[in-house]
């Protein structure tokens, strides 16, 4: 994992001092609300429904044990004993006091963490595949690229006051696990005909009010040119992106209005002046960054299929967990384990301070002291020996972190919604819980869920789409109708290589109807599916009509 040197430390500590001073000037009245707003947002500080909210960056999802412990300490000391992992590899504290925020940042800086550019109209935290470095289908480790982008984007002087927020995701595997097509820029690591690392660049993707799948604008970009090319895109966007209408200010609107081809030509022209200049990244810098992500000292150990099969045979819970929460690793004898933050009754993505401390200890005992957070709001111990899986499972169970539901219907991606967020039109957490409870009520809950199999359910409490509802197989969007909370349902959205935007099935529903709606959608899937076909494949094959007809069918429809 990347380690700060004195320069990184100086930059973060200067930021803490800068922000403390800005906060003091605001509280004294020297900075107006309008002047302070972008400054605090670029430091992850929102003023929310009940209290400020502080969003802390977890660059490309990587966490060390000491950082987990610091987050736990902050949750206890400055908050109400828990924190929320977001859909963009960040963590949020919901109840800090405004005047404590400077001290919180100072505490974070001690463990090389910060809240830099986690909000505001600037380049946000770069996200990636939560299985980076360990995935069997990896072409190249995306993390050195992510760190390169992190440094380039941190306090970039030209791109701090963009028309709107700007999100970059990087993926380095055959399967996209970073939703790169739903980002302002998606960076894909590939190799050219000579086997040299290079990038494919997608631009103009994004969710929110106008969901768009990103357009491929450049293939085989030499890796040395990545930052120059990103600078060219950002410069075109900064100059020509709309600033007259908040809802049309994202880069996707510029790309659409110009057409992707014309946009790409502008970028290529801008890049032609930057290529080969000081922003070109020497091989030595890639090598330096890669050195931080070398393999941990893996043991020489064997794959343990037969041991795991025996253990699974004696324990149904372990067997279920093995099926859903354990992922193949590229190193023999190891596996990646996903800790579910989607236990029914606990808001999706929330972790208590005690859980964070316990995960820190487990990461040290089982996974070289590191953990990751996924954009699906779960945590990962990426380097667990297969012969230790059962012990880890037993340790996770009492912590409520072993729910065997990864990728299943109760593994719901969900924003904080109207319970916390000032932007929300409707609550989202209670909808997630009601769906989870409906599934849990079944006698065959676990078997039923496993039978339904892979399905992404995503809930956003407003059109800003933090819950990525457009790319959920089932997407739920909270809407406001005359002051009442209603929920619009889409199906057929998906993330990954063949990302697609879901289609609205019809008029929106009251909150109490939502478990029925989900149940009926699943009924149609069970009726229509062919063999091992996943929910999303059935939707793509039969279209939304059968689902729509069943969901809105009277008299069962409430």
């Amino acid at each position: 994992m990347y380690l700060y040197d004195e320069i990184d430390r100086a930059i973060v500590s200067d930021r803490v001092a800068q922000f403390k001073d800005q906060l003091a000037r605001f509280l004294k009245g020297d900075l107006s609300e309008d002047e302070f707003r972008p400054l605090r947002l670029q430091n992850g500080l929102y003023l929310q429904r009940h209290a400020p909210m502080l969003r802390v960056a977890i660059p490309y999802g990587m966490l060390r044990a000491n950082q987990l412990r610091k987050l736990a300490e902050i949750a206890r000391r400055f908050d109400r004993g828990y924190a929320h992992f977001t859909t963009r590899q960040n963590i949020q504290f919901n109840w800090p006091k405004l005047e404590d925020c400077g001290d919180i940042l100072a505490e974070l800086a001690k463990v090389e963490m910060h809240a830099i550019q986690t909000s505001g109209n600037c380049i946000r935290n770069t996200t990636t595949d939560h299985f980076a470095g360990v995935a069997a289908d990896e072409v190249a480790d995306p993390r050195p690229t992510c760190e390169l982008i992190r440094q380039w984007s941190t306090f970039h002087p030209e791109f701090a006051y963009l028309p709107r927020k700007f999100k970059i995701a990087v993926n380095g595997a055959l399967n996209d696990r970073a939703a790169v097509l739903a980002h302002d820029i998606g960076v894909l690591l590939t190799r050219n005909e000579q086997g040299e690392p290079c990038y494919s660049i997608y631009a103009g993707g994004g969710l929110g009010r106008t969901p768009v799948i990103g357009h491929l604008i450049r293939e085989r970009l030499p890796r040395a040119e990545l930052l120059n090319y990103l600078s060219a895109i950002l410069r075109v966007y900064n100059r020509f992106g709309r600033r007259d209408n908040l809802y049309k200010a994202r880069i996707k609107i510029l790309v659409r209005d110009l057409t992707p081809d014309v946009f790409a030509r502008h970028v290529e022209d801008e890049w032609s002046h930057l290529a080969g200049g000081p922003g070109s990244v020497p091989d030595a810098e890639f090598a330096r960054l890669a050195s931080f992500f070398e393999d941990p000292p893996y043991a020489e150990c064997a794959n343990e299929e037969s041991l795991l099969a025996r253990q699974a045979a004696t324990s149904k819970p372990f067997s279920n967990w093995l099926k859903r929460n354990v992922t193949a690793h590229r190193v023999r004898g190891y596996a990646a384990v996903t800790l579910s933050l989607k236990k029914t009754g606990s808001p999706p993505g929330d972790a208590s301070a005690d859980q964070l401390d316990a995960i820190a200890a487990l990461s040290e005992a089982f996974s070289f002291g590191e953990a990751r957070v996924s954009h699906e709001q779960n945590l990962i111990l990426a380097d667990v020996r297969q012969d230790a899986l059962f012990a880890l499972f037993e340790a996770l169970r009492p912590l409520g972190l072993a729910t065997p539901n990864i990728g299943l219907v109760t593994d719901i991606v969900c924003c904080p919604g109207g319970d916390f967020c000032a932007l929300a039109n409707a609550k989202s957490i209670p909808v997630a819980e009601a769906i989870q409870r409906r599934i849990d009520e079944r006698i065959d809950a676990i078997d039923f869920m496993h039978d339904i199999g892979d399905i992404d359910v995503n809930i956003s409490g407003c059109i800003n789409a933090c819950g990525h509802h457009h790319i959920g197989h089932i997407g739920i969007l909270g809407v406001d109708k005359n002051g009442e909370e209603w929920y619009q349902v889409t199906i057929g959205g998906s993330q990954g290589n063949a990302a697609s935007i879901g289609k609205i099935i019809g008029p929106s529903f009251a909150r109490a109807q939502m478990p029925d709606v989900i149940e009926r959608l699943l009924q149609v899937y069970v009726r229509e599916r062919h063999g091992d076909e996943r929910f999303i494949d059935t939707v793509h094959r039969v279209g939304i009509e059968p689902f729509k007809n069943h969901v809105y069918k009277e008299p069962e429809h409430a």
């Binding site: 040197d5 004195e6 320069i7 100086a10 930059i11 200067d14 930021r15 800068q18 800005q22 900075l31 002047e35 972008p38 400054l39 109209n121 440094q151 380039w152 984007s153 941190t154 306090f155 970039h156 002087p157 030209e158 791109f159 701090a160 006051y161 963009l162 028309p163 930052l227 600078s231 410069r235 900064n238 100059r239 600033r243 002046h273 930057l274 200049g277 000081p278 922003g279 990244v281 020497p282 810098e285 330096r288």
Partner: protein
């Protein structure tokens, strides 16, 4: 007399007094004292007769944030400065305009930030190539100057400095020396 902050990246800032008049056409220029700067909007500067009429005068070409700085290619030899206006501090187009003047047009003269120019953006402006600043008149100019010192180091390539990955060793030494 209005004050202007002169501050190149890495150099101490100093304050000067200076008189400037914005013109909309060439009619009134005879009445303007020669010591006063004449601020000329881009379109007027590119208009046929202007450059001849203002020969020998202290000319500051004024760019709005929607203006294209590349239209100034070959038109900057006779100017004392280029001023870039920030209609509101959160309009970030001025940063790219300054960077293009420095990087693309290789303009080495003064680039001046005018309009909603505030302390918390000073450091970014300077790194994009601004070296003169007219802070918003209701704010303390000494406070504004403090903004240049917000950070000891920076990562990325900019109009004034190579990226950190091309100078990391010396930067580490410099940082240690400063401590």
């Amino acid at each position: 007399m209005p004050e202007i902050v002169l501050a190149r990246y890495g150099e101490p800032a100093r304050i000067e007094k200076r008189e400037a008049v914005v013109i909309a056409d060439l009619e009134s220029i005879g009445a303007i004292p020669t010591t006063t700067e004449i601020v000329v909007p881009l379109a007027l500067w590119l208009d046929g007769a202007t450059q001849g009429a203002l020969k020998g005068r202290k000319v500051v070409v004024l760019l709005k944030s929607s203006d294209d700085p590349l239209r100034l290619a070959g038109q900057l030899a006779a100017v004392a400065a280029v001023a870039i206006e920030f209609p509101v501090f959160s309009d970030g187009r001025g940063y790219s305009i300054a960077a293009l003047l420095r990087e693309r047009l290789r303009y080495g003269g003064q680039i001046r930030a005018v309009g909603d120019v505030l302390r918390d953006q000073a450091f970014y402006m300077q790194r994009c190539g601004f070296d003169a600043f007219v802070p918003r008149p209701d704010r303390s100019i000494d406070e504004f100057i403090k903004g240049f010192g917000d950070f000891r180091e920076t990562y990325q390539a900019s109009a004034v400095l190579e990226p950190l990955f091309r100078r990391r060793e010396e930067a580490l030494l410099a940082l240690a020396g400063r401590a």
